[in-house]
Amino acid sequence: MARIIVVTSGKGGVGKTTTSAAVSMGLAKKGHKTAVIDFDVGLRNLDLIMGCERRVVYDFVNVINGEATLNQALIRDKHCDNLYILPASQTRDKDSLSLEGVGKILDELSKTFDYIVCDSPAGIEKGAHLAMYFADDAFVVTNPEVSSVRDSDRMLGLLASKSRRAELNEEPIKEYLILSRYSPDRVKLGEMLSVNDVQEILSLHLLGVTPESKSVLNASNSGTPVILDEKSDAGQAYADIVARYLGEEKPHRFIDEKKGLFGKLFGGK
């Protein structure tokens, strides 16, 4: 039985796809057979971030409609044999997905995979609902910024009321916070909400903080999930996130500012 993870946020552009790509790669590299599914029908992007855009033949909607088998549509990652990508359709609209169709695909994947990572589209409409409906765990990606925090809280409300687990009165979805695009320097200056602020407001278990980092753009430029850039801060942050999710103890990093000369002279400690 696979564990189904939804990467969700409500607000757009906060780092869901970046996170889905990194986390699925991280899980696969740790030896777990992992599938990552792009639920952003009409706007597929995961294939680009994973660097497999030229190998897409069939997509999620083709499988739901019976036009291709799951095995035909799944793309094996070129860096890691344990990782498979199920791309979204670019031509259809979001109504091409149905709860029943998605459920059937997840059931089939569950038989052979350890983890299924669902990259949710932005918003709280149908696509986002389908991405989270069957989830066991939710990674709520949040930027330290008012509208993102508010939307994350709305998403928490939906996870607790509109998911399969909620409807069947099962144990609720486990919710984790990923605070993304964090700038310790700006937090120190009082310009940005701190980790503690966001945690206090959302009261979520913090899986990790990813720093605002140039390496993320570099990674997407070349189509390699940032976690493979092991020297980069963001890559290390995602590696920590995967390790913590799998139960390893890792102290949080990237939440204190790098001290420049001025800070060293005057900042104390």
């Binding site: 200056l189 310009e191 701190s194």
Partner: protein
């Protein structure tokens, strides 16, 4: 307090403002999320009844639904018109 902190504290932190606004907003949105589905209709009908007897503005009436582990409270607050200012 060191020199840098001194310069910092002379500015109002926008993050602190953001936090306070979010705390209020999120608390409010959470409580309205948990409220029973009949509440908006109940609210509307109660307003109509009240207006039959008392001349008050919409804003003079506030509803508050609260829920904790032990009980649910529906609080209805009506600010009555100030009689001393009445002209007739």
């Amino acid at each position: 307090m060191n020199l840098l902190d001194y310069f910092r504290s002379s500015k109002i932190s926008t993050a602190a403002v953001a936090k306070e606004r979010l705390q209020i907003l999120v608390a409010h949105e959470r409580s309205s999320r948990n409220q029973p589905s009949y509440l908006p209709q109940l609210q509307k009908e109660l307003l109509e009844v009240i207006k039959k007897y008392i001349h008050v503005d919409q804003e003079a009436i506030s509803f508050n639904f609260e829920q904790d582990d032990h009980q649910e409270t529906l609080e209805l607050n009506i600010v009555l018109p100030d009689l001393s200012h009445k002209k007739n």
